[in-house]
Subunit: 219 residues, 2 copies
Amino acid sequence: MQQSTNNEMNLYFAPLACSLATRIALYEAGADIEYTYVDTDTKRLKDGSNYFEINPMGQVPALCIGHDTLLTENAAILQHVAESFPDAALMPAAPLERARLRQWLGFISTELHKAVFIPLLDPKAAVEVKAYSREKLARRMDVLQHHLTGREFLLNDFSVADAYLVTVLNWGQASGVDIGQWPEVREYYKRLTKRPSIAKGIAEEWAMYQDEQARKAAA
Amino acid sequence: MQQSTNNEMNLYFAPLACSLATRIALYEAGADIEYTYVDTDTKRLKDGSNYFEINPMGQVPALCIGHDTLLTENAAILQHVAESFPDAALMPAAPLERARLRQWLGFISTELHKAVFIPLLDPKAAVEVKAYSREKLARRMDVLQHHLTGREFLLNDFSVADAYLVTVLNWGQASGVDIGQWPEVREYYKRLTKRPSIAKGIAEEWAMYQDEQARKAAA
């Protein structure tokens, strides 16, 4: 890991993985940081080093802060980015609104990301595992559909929770989930993907993802 | 829901469910609040009312704040309790330490609670589903074992993350997970269960759990 000052950050990411949410938040903040690609199949960096030695969970995102602090877990990283760049107003200031932000970060990370999408996206998960996750989908998407009706964002203004939600909804096609069954959720997703930070993040990572797939197919 | 002032709280809980973490945090804070039992099988309160009408996800904990705000998601509720009772020092003040607290809340809620323990505790989960979750166990417990070596708590001092972790580890026996395979984790759990707030919370909820099981067996 490169030596850096305490204000420097390095994001370990994989294309279109949940680390995209952090990239979007950083683009919103206009933050100029390092991005380090992780091959999540081999758990190797481009220089061949073993990512497990950096993050024992082997997951992205992980945010290196300064030269000796590694922060993991999406909800923690997103709040840290929001607090590090307060001018970008990526989280609300009032205590109860901040609690609501954390509620949505919790909902997205536990109920959508881990309980539903991870097994649906995992090629090694058995059909019974995918069925178990799929059973949980409707109640969770109904909650989103109800909440997003008449709303532009999860909270009153754009926040890091929207960066995370759009990243998860972006897995719809790959996971076989037709988000069109929940029209308010689909409209939210379509609207958010036009936001410049999100359009830029998805376009860049989509290109990287295609390169990665082509490279793996050729290997 | 009872009318109450903005400072009043009501915790929707089920015995030995993850709402125990909030109870422990409230006992640490010396907070005197209402506790409302939820039958998580029938999703009914004792007065027969439908819990889904209060919380559309049907999950505990949910914290009613004042008379019109319902906060859900463990990580959000625990941080709200910590912020509401600052004298109890249930979360660190420094930004990077606070980020670390959120990292542990994220790890416990996504990696342990949702990815591993929910399927292992679910009597309706197929054997393939339990096997998929069980495969994830070792790496996560190894991370805990490594981190807890030479440490009393997850952070430098007791925090709401410890309240959550001990609540999840308390499911070891019911989920068929022998935490004795990770001696530092077992010692941490044994040590923490002697802490007065935790000993009181577990004893009370264990008695309620036994009553609930006896009532359901008789029905």
